[in-house]
Symmetry: C2
């Protein structure tokens, strides 16, 4: 297996030399659809786009007061965890958040510090929750990003609304989507790793479980019975355990901050870890990726990474 491991390492290093950037480039305005397809989607590279949604009323309107007035009484799904980590490896479990139904105004009470609650709160339900749970806010944004829809020849599969506390963290993972991530207020901090770094990223298989807050207020981890084990990344890119996962030394993560009014193009199959400023509001668009030669190649990389993993 050693020659194969060498091939994989060379391949990943070559990707960084050949076509990846050292940092995430910024574009000054919304791009031409064909040029965007060719330069970013087709070549599977992230970028930050400025001035792409200056015309959205949300940018000026979405204050806590406005949100309380518009959707304060709406009941929405909130992810609650003891430590900010929803959908992450905790000890030997893959632990999902408690999904709590709360009124929007009571979430804002927590975010604004008007009420003290145990746990970390994050509106992060990724099932087109903006259109489905908060249709009153849809008019303040757009239901799709026109140049992206033209580039891809389709509409987004989901438009998601995100609002959470500073210590709500999204653990390292990848999605099968072309993702446009628009920060409305505050800022998001991304750690990005290209698909070609897959050989250096450890995966494990974990029993799935759910956080549940007991009447006393403590969180318990409750195993989900009758579920298949979940493949997930145990490594925390903020504090990687290099003794345990030495290959990760060869990974070359990109760090970027996306500020209010900016949009991140997060390409399909890129690994990402996300933090945010307290009370950051964002909207993102998920466009289904093409299952073409790039996906096919990535599947090969997955299989080879699995076959050569030492752990």
């Amino acid at each position: 297996m050693e020659p194969v491991r060498r091939c994989l390492t060379e391949f990943s290093l070559e990707a960084h030399d050949l076509y990846l950037n050292q940092s995430v480039p910024h574009l000054e305005g919304p791009p031409d659809p064909l040029q965007f397809y060719r330069d970013w989607i087709g070549s599977n590279k992230p970028c930050i786009i400025h001035n792409a949604f200056n015309h959205w009323p949300a940018l000026s309107r979405w204050t806590p007061a406005y949100l309380r007035e518009k959707v304060g009484s709406k009941v929405i799904s909130v992810a609650v965890t003891p430590n900010g980590y929803a959908d992450a490896v905790h000890r030997d479990r893959f632990v999902m958040p408690e999904e709590r139904q709360m009124s929007f105004s009571s979430v804002l009470d927590v975010i604004e510090g008007k009420v003290e609650k145990q746990g970390v709160f994050y509106i992060q339900k990724q099932c087109s929750n903006l259109l489905d749970e908060l249709p009153e806010l849809t008019a303040d944004v757009e239901p799709h990003v026109s140049w992206m829809s033209t580039a891809l020849g389709k509409l987004p599969d989901a438009v998601n609304f995100w609002l959470g506390e500073a210590n709500a963290i999204t653990s390292l993972h990848k999605d099968h989507y072309e993702n446009l991530y628009c920060v409305i207020s505050g800022e998001k901090h991304f750690i990005l790793l290209p698909p070609t770094d897959r050989p250096f990223i450890p995966y494990g298989l974990y029993q799935s479980a759910v956080y549940t807050q007991s009447d006393g207020g403590d969180f318990e981890v409750i195993d989900q019975s009758d579920t298949e084990k979940v493949p997930w990344i145990p490594l925390d890119p903020l504090d990687p355990d290099l003794e345990r996962y030495p290959s990760y030394r060869q990974a070359q993560p990109l760090h970027c901050t996306v500020k209010a009014g900016e949009m991140l193009y997060l390409p399909s199959l890129w690994f990402h870890h996300v933090r945010q400023s307290h009370g950051c509001i964002a909207v993102n668009f998920w466009y289904d990726m093409e299952y073409d030669i790039k996906y096919n190649y990535f599947q090969l990389l997955e299989a080879l990474s699995g076959a050569t993993e030492s752990e």
Copy 2:
């Protein structure tokens, strides 16, 4: 290495299931640049395009009489071989054709059977010979294909003119170009293999040599001294030696015929073998490929195919 070989085989089979077509699809007209980029260039799939150059005067004008009148006295490079195979493995050598300088009318004498000569003649010099050696013919075609240039955001690197005998054959190989191949008269027969079939395609390293016709008329194979060995494919897809190259059983070649007035989009890194009807005339456009994630992945496939090859 066995698990890696299995990964490679599964990967290739999955490509055929996931996104490749069973045959080369036909498009009824010249496509929209963005749609063509997304559906064919980005996904690296061949297609045959009809009605894409109906307006070229070449389609009606390029008769032997017209060519004699326009460029009969021009001296051009012709590849001459004893057997029709230029740039191919012959026994333990990679043998290139004799490059002969001849007047265009004397090539036509051979093609039209007015003169008998030993050997097989093929105008196939791939260095933009249409623009450089036959500028008088350029006005009968176009110097680029506008929707392709728009799609790729660049002009072609080369525009080549092809004219040859029925037994002139181009052996299986791949190019680092997005190729638009336009048949003006007669027809071309292509055998195409996707880059994902690379694990099943044998390569060897061969001493390079050149055919040279002696005064007696026989062809000799003269080694090129001081040249590096050339990696080439020894397998003939018309008559594959499956005893020697058993993996090729798993390859899934596509066969297609491109007729006068039709254009083949032959994607970068696809393996191709080409035959033609006698006197077939064609013009092709080579656009440099993007050295992006797809190329990077193909390089990995090359390295792994090499590392796991049994021969």
